[in-house]
Every structure is written in structure tokens, then in C-alpha cells.
């Protein structure tokens, strides 16, 4: 007499449909557990597949978009503008939105007389002085000073004093013209480099406008000769422009490959626009060791590459600084940038919107189908522990021989417990 918890006539024991009650010796729960497990997996899977999970990716998504008025040029994989490398500098314009700089000197600004200049950085909102800074390219402050006609260029590194101010000792302005000072630094906690710009008048302060024309290469200075290859050949205000400087010895024309690291990189390039005096500071493309010992052991040249974009058309004066034999060599040049044509981000987004939206809808349908099919696969193939393993031998159902044609044509998949996983030998179906 079999032991059953079901009682007569219950739906589960099959007697309602006139079938003989199955001869189970296990309890109801032991029989139901494999079925519940599959259903639990099915339910778990369906729930996990996106129907109850909060979409944090959509809620907390943060973008990284360029300003809306930025123009983009048409390009293609393999063309120069597609090589969007890691940014190597490039500040444009005064970025003193949050910070301010005040300048004090040991006396009135006079040409030809060495003066001490002290710079104090403050927060614009509160007026509180900023006293802590992070080094960038081995210095706390890179101070670029140019004359109004862009004829003079100085790259100084004032000392950070204990009171949090910067002191530039013994600096002499050469002429009585306006000078523009660019402060390139990184206040501690700001998370980024900032650029501050101030104009000062020296002596009579006679304004001389810059008169620039494109440089004919090669140019030479302090024993070095440089050639410049631009890509594209005529730089434009949209897309990347790549600079390749080739340095050689001015005396014999031999390529120079003994440049030393200067301020943590092989070279520095500063460019200033004639129109707005916008400032661009670039470092060479490529990866360089940060360990000073390793960097000091390296030598660079003869080719050094930079890349940048230009914010406006017009002439730009550039100063390439390299270190050779312990001496800083400055090579000045001028290039012309033309206005480029392109589309804004919104225009491009509008152009792609229709196809993009259609593909998004298709993606959702595909994921829904995948979820459906996955649940089907779980129902079909989820490995169950054998429910007949604890039954007495007399109650085991008769299983057709795997070698018989009927069995090969209609038998279900063999249990996963068979590690050999040998499929039954296939026989033609003799119809």
C-alpha cells in the first residue's frame, strides 16, 4: 500500500482523470521540490531580467559633452580627425570663473628694472586666499608672460611661499608696453587645472599691436633648427590639428635625438592667438614615465608631435621649448588658422535621431525575445536531481532501450549526470 499525502480523488494524484495513482514512496514535498526549483529559477530569471531593478544607470548617468556651439567636421576612420587621442593640454581663454589673482610688486612697473612680483590666488565667491596647490609638470605655477605685440615670451615658475603666495624674484620687463600674464595652475581640491589671465601696463604702457605672418620653415635658434609638418596642411577651427616638429642641429643639419625631459615631458608648446590672445598649452603626444629618474634617463627627438584644436581663425604665435645640454631652447613660429565649416551637436543628433530611435526599439524587442527564449531553455534543460532515485526498484518505470529506433527518434535528452555525455548511436528512422 503506497503512502501518499494526497488522499483519493485529488487533482495531483491523477485519479481525477481516470489514471492509476502513481506509486510514489516519497513525500509530497520531495516530489514537488524539483518542480518548484525550476519554477523558482524561472521566476528569479524573469525578475532579474529588468522588470523590477531600478535603473540607476539612467538616473545617475552623467554626460561628458562639449559646449553646444562646438562645430564638428565630417571625417572617417583612418582620417586625421578620427584620431581622438587623449587630451594633452589646451586651455583657451580666461577661466577665472571661480578664482582670482592679485598682483603686487616691490614698486611701480618699470622697464629694465628687476622687480619682485607677488601673486595671490583667491576664491572669487568668498575672497578667501588659496594656499595649497597641486604640482603639474613638476611645478606649482607656470607663468607665461607675453608682450602686447607677442614679440617677447617668458615662461617662469614663481616660488610657492609659506604664506601661500607665489613670488617671482628679479623679473625685468624689457619695454614700456602692456604685458599679458597667464597663470596656469591647479588649486588643491579644484580637481583640474585652471587658467587665469591678467594684463598689466609697464611704464608709458604704449600699446603695440602684434603684426604676424606665417613662418617659413626651417627656423633656427640657439643651435637648433626646426621644421614643422602640419596635418591638415591648412589648420582649421574644427577638428584636430597635428604638429610634427623635426629638430636638427643648426650647424650640420644632423637630426637631434638628445633632448632631455623638460618639466616632466619632452617639450612644451604654447600658442597664443593674435585676435583674442587665447592661450593654448600643449604637451607631446605619447606616454612618458612619471618616475623622474626614468624620465631623466630618456632622450627625445628628432620628431616631437602635438595635437590640439583651435577656437578661432587667424594667426597664432607659438613657442616650442626644449631642453638640450642643460639649456632651454625656445623656437618661435607663426601659423595661420582658417575658419572651418561643420555641424553642431544638435544638428548631428537630429540627423541620426530617426535611425537611432528605431534601433533602440529593435534592441528592446531583441532583449525581450532573448529573455523569453532563455526562460524556455531553463524550462527545457535545467538539470534536476533525479526524482526516482529514492523510489523502490519495483516502482521504477520501464525505460526504452537507447539502441532502439523508437528511442533514438523520440527519447528525451539524457540526464546531465552522465559525464561522458555520449549521445546514443543514431539509427535511421525506418518509416
Amino acid at each position: 500500500m503506497q503512502n501518499t499525502d494526497l488522499g483519493r480523488g485529488s487533482f495531483l494524484d491523477g485519479s481525477v482523470f481516470g489514471r492509476a495513482k502513481p506509486d510514489y514512496s516519497t513525500s509530497y514535498m520531495k516530489r514537488m521540490v524539483p518542480r518548484i526549483r525550476v519554477q523558482a529559477v524561472f521566476l528569479f530569471y524573469a525578475l532579474l531580467c529588468g522588470f523590477v531593478i531600478i535603473p540607476p544607470g539612467a538616473v545617475f548617468a552623467h554626460g561628458d559633452e562639449a559646449p553646444a556651439e562646438t562645430l564638428y567636421s565630417q571625417t572617417q576612420i583612418g582620417l586625421p580627425d578620427s584620431r581622438q587621442g587623449h587630451a594633452h593640454g589646451g586651455m583657451v581663454g580666461d577661466q577665472s570663473g571661480n578664482f582670482d589673482v592679485s598682483i603686487s610688486s616691490s614698486g611701480p612697473y618699470q622697464a629694465g628694472i628687476p622687480q619682485a612680483l607677488r601673486f595671490t590666488i583667491t576664491k572669487k565667491a568668498t575672497g578667501e586666499q588659496v594656499k595649497e596647490f597641486v604640482q603639474t609638470q613638476t611645478k606649482y605655477l607656470h607663468l607665461i608672460i607675453v608682450s602686447s605685440d607677442l614679440a617677447e615670451f617668458y615662461h617662469e615658475h614663481p616660488d610657492l611661499e609659506s604664506d601661500g603666495t607665489f613670488l617671482l624674484k628679479d623679473f625685468a620687463f624689457k619695454r614700456e608696453v602692456p604685458y599679458t600674464l597667464y597663470f596656469d595652475l591647479s588649486p588643491s581640491g579644484s580637481g583640474d587645472d585652471i587658467l587665469l589671465r591678467r594684463d598689466i601696463g609697464v611704464g608709458q604702457n604704449v600699446y603695440i599691436a602684434p603684426f604676424l605672418k606665417s613662418t617659413q620653415f626651417p627656423v633656427a635658434s640657439q643651435g637648433l633648427q626646426v621644421r614643422l609638418f602640419l596635418d591638415p596642411g591648412e589648420p582649421k577651427t574644427i577638428g584636430n590639428t597635428f604638429f610634427t616638429f623635426t629638430l636638427s642641429d643648426a650647424a650640420n643639419g644632423a637630426p637631434v635625438s638628445d633632448l632631455e625631459a623638460y618639466l616632466g615631458v619632452p617639450a612644451h608648446l604654447v600658442m597664443i592667438s593674435q585676435k583674442s590672445f587665447d592661450y593654448i598649452h600643449m604637451h607631446p603626444s605619447g606616454n612618458f614615465p612619471t618616475d623622474p629618474v626614468k624620465l631623466d634617463a630618456l632622450r627625445f627627438g628628432p620628431n616631437i608631435q602635438f595635437q590640439t584644436t583651435f577656437p578661432e581663425e587667424g594667426f597664432y604665435k607659438g613657442w616650442l621649448q626644449v631642453l638640450r645640454g642643460g639649456n632651454i631652447v625656445v623656437l618661435a613660429f607663426v601659423i595661420s588658422v582658417e575658419k572651418g565649416t561643420g555641424l553642431t551637436r544638435d544638428q548631428i543628433a537630429t540627423n541620426v535621431h530617426f535611425v537611432q530611435a528605431r534601433e533602440e526599439n529593435r534592441s528592446i524587442v531583441k532583449f525581450a525575445l532573448i529573455t523569453l527564449f532563455m526562460c524556455g531553455m531553463i524550462l527545457l534543460f535545467y538539470p534536476k536531481r533525479s526524482s526516482i532515485s529514492s523510489l523502490p526498484p519495483s516502482s521504477l518505470p520501464v525505460v526504452a532501450s537507447p539502441a532502439s529506433p523508437q528511442a533514438s527518434a523520440t527519447s528525451p535528452v539524457q540526464p546531465a549526470s552522465d559525464s561522458k555525455q555520449n549521445q546514443p548511436p543514431q539509427q535511421p528512422n525506418n518509416t
Binding site: P55, G78, G85, T308, L343, I348, S363, L380
Partner: protein, 340 residues
């Protein structure tokens, strides 16, 4: 009246031959890809115009649509095949090796799909290139500087042509080679090949009609599935065109990746570009580790649970990336903008 058990048995047998269906779909892809190659130009100045011409002509457009939907169905079937194998537990040496070779094929397929996206030469192609190739090699190059050699190799004027060689020749050949290796270890593969082996020698001798092979249920099932797949791809190709966005503009990101990469986007929305380098290898490693957690005994074990959980997470992340807004992750590459 057909019983539920018979239907279940038929479906299970169908699930067993999914690997064979994948091979048939690969054949469809190779044939349609060869036909497309006659009309496609990998020169960057001509790429988009060649794609435009392909879509303008109804016949070449059909071939392209066929190639696109065959690749989608290929990936779909591959996913189901992996699931079937994971649920039937790849335990034992032979099945473990078959599984690992299969993971190698999965990596190749992922690379092939990515390169296929590059081939399109439209806005999404350029963003895929900037995002996945330049972005990931840029991140890796911070730790392994020699990676810049790879970046430079695929950044010059013939970059698309080099990608095309990988997509059209190298990876398909590698896939076919791995299929042979996979078949050496996969018991189901050997079982499905046995009818063909049995008829080969007599057929060569001229004494057996090749049509006898279709007496085997597995062969018939494969044939029916292939015909169904062919019909489905044809209908989809006629009804739903493959996507081709407008010409590419460099330096911005206005599209989302293809559906099979959306799960990475979910994490990029949190962490920026870095997940693109970390997550795909992590997922492949998780899949590769499954046989190590699979025991040779009845019932589900950690190998099955790991697979189901990993795939459930991938699908759910993909859902939400598909439903969420488009977010730019790479525009700080544009010169003149400081990093976020």
C-alpha cells in the same frame, strides 16, 4: 493529440542541434559577406559613399540586410547554444575543453561583430571606433605603453582596410579552425557528424544515395532549422532594413552602441570609459570559469548558477541601457576640453 512530453522532447532535441544551426548561419554570413565585399570600399574617402550605393540598389541592399540579420540571428543562436550547454553542465574533460574552445570562439565573434560595426563607416561606426578602440587602447596604454603601437597601426589612412582584412579573412578563418577543434571535444558535434561519416565512404564508392543521410532525425532537424532560419532572415531582410546612419562627424557621441554591447554602457554611465576595458574580459573569464564549478553529479550546481546569474545581469543591464538616455562618455577626448 500531441502530448506535452513529446513537445518538450522535440524542443530539447532542437536545442541540441543549435550548434549545427550556428555553423549554417556562419555559412550564410560568409556567402553574404563575400557578395558584399564586391561593392564595399575600405578607403576612408569612399567608404560611406559605397555604403550609400549598396543601400540604394535593391539587390545589394537585400544582401546587406541579409548579412545584418544573419549576424543578429547568429549571435542570438550562439547565446541559446551556450545556455543549453551550460544547463546540461560541461563537466568531464572533453566537454570542458569544448566549452573553453567555445569561449575562444565567443571572443572572436565579439571582435567580428565590433569590426563589422566599424565597416559601416557611418556615425555609429566612427563613435564605435573612437569609443571602443581608441578609448580602450588609450586607457590600456597608460599601463602598457607598447599598446600605442596597436593604436597607431589601426589609426592611419589604411585603418579600415586593415580592419576589413581581420573581419573578412582572419577572424572567419580562425573561427572555422576553432569549430574543428570544438568538434573534436564536443560529444554532440561528434554525434551529429556520425550520419555524414557513415554515408561518406559508400557515396564515394557510388554505392549509397546521399539522400539516405536525411533519414537521420538529427540531419532532418538541422535541415528544417536551417530552412526556418533562412526564411526568417529573408523575411526580415525584405521587411526591416539594416541601419545606416548619416556620415560620420568626429569628436562627439550621439549614438548608443549596438544591442549586444549595451550592457557595458550601463556601467559606463556610472564610471566613465574604464568599464569598457575591464568588463568584457571579466565576463569572458566568468564564462571560462564555469566548468571549474561544474560537478559531475545530478542537479544544478554553482556552474549553472553562475551562468544564469551572469546572463541575467547582462540582459537586465542591457535593458536599462537601451531604455535610458544616450550619454556621451568620450567627448573629453576632443582637444580643448579638460577631463571631467
Amino acid at each position: 493529440m500531441v502530448s506535452f512530453q513529446k513537445i518538450k522532447s522535440e524542443l530539447q532535441q532542437t536545442g541540441i542541434v543549435l550548434g549545427g544551426l550556428i555553423m549554417v548561419l556562419l555559412l550564410f554570413l560568409i556567402v553574404s559577406g563575400i557578395l558584399l565585399a564586391f561593392f564595399y570600399s575600405p578607403q576612408p574617402e569612399e567608404t560611406y559613399s559605397s555604403m550609400d550605393s549598396i543601400m540604394a540598389n535593391p539587390i545589394t541592399a537585400f544582401i546587406r540586410n541579409f548579412h545584418f540579420w544573419a549576424s543578429d540571428l547568429f549571435l542570438f543562436t550562439l547565446f541559446l547554444h551556450m545556455t543549453r550547454v551550460a544547463l546540461t553542465k560541461p563537466s568531464g574533460k572533453a566537454r570542458r575543453y569544448a566549452w573553453w574552445v567555445g569561449i575562444g570562439m565567443l571572443i572572436l565573434v565579439a571582435a567580428e561583430m565590433l569590426l563589422g560595426t566599424f565597416m559601416r563607416g557611418d556615425e555609429e561606426a566612427l563613435e564605435a571606433y573612437s569609443h571602443f578602440f581608441i578609448g580602450s587602447t588609450g586607457i590600456v596604454a597608460n599601463y602598457f605603453p607598447f599598446t600605442t603601437l596597436i593604436t597607431d597601426f589601426f589609426s592611419q589612412h589604411n585603418a579600415l582596410f586593415r580592419f576589413f582584412i581581420f573581419h573578412a579573412i582572419l577572424i572567419p578563418f580562425a573561427l572555422l579552425s576553432l569549430i574543428i577543434l570544438h568538434g573534436l571535444f564536443a560529444p554532440t558535434f561528434r554525434a551529429l557528424m556520425s550520419p555524414w561519416k557513415k554515408v561518406t565512404e559508400p557515396t564515394i564508392r557510388g554505392s549509397l544515395d546521399i539522400r539516405g543521410v536525411f533519414a537521420y532525425p538529427s540531419v532532418r532537424k538541422m535541415m528544417y532549422l536551417s530552412l526556418i532560419a533562412l526564411g526568417a532572415i529573408t523575411v526580415l531582410s525584405l521587411a526591416l532594413p539594416a541601419p545606416l546612419l548619416p556620415p560620420p562627424y568626429g569628436g562627439l557621441e550621439v549614438t548608443k552602441p549596438p544591442w549586444w554591447l549595451l550592457w557595458v554602457v550601463f556601467f559606463e554611465n556610472f564610471f566613465g570609459l574604464t568599464p569598457i576595458v575591464i568588463l568584457p574580459p571579466v565576463l569572458f573569464l566568468i564564462f571560462a570559469a564555469i566548468p571549474l564549478f561544474t560537478k559531475d553529479k545530478p542537479g544544478a550546481d554553482w556552474g549553472v548558477y553562475i551562468y544564469l546569474i551572469a546572463t541575467a545581469l547582462v540582459i537586465s543591464m542591457s535593458f536599462w541601457a537601451a531604455l535610458g538616455p544616450q550619454v556621451a562618455h568620450t567627448e573629453h577626448f576632443l582637444q580643448g576640453h579638460t577631463e571631467p
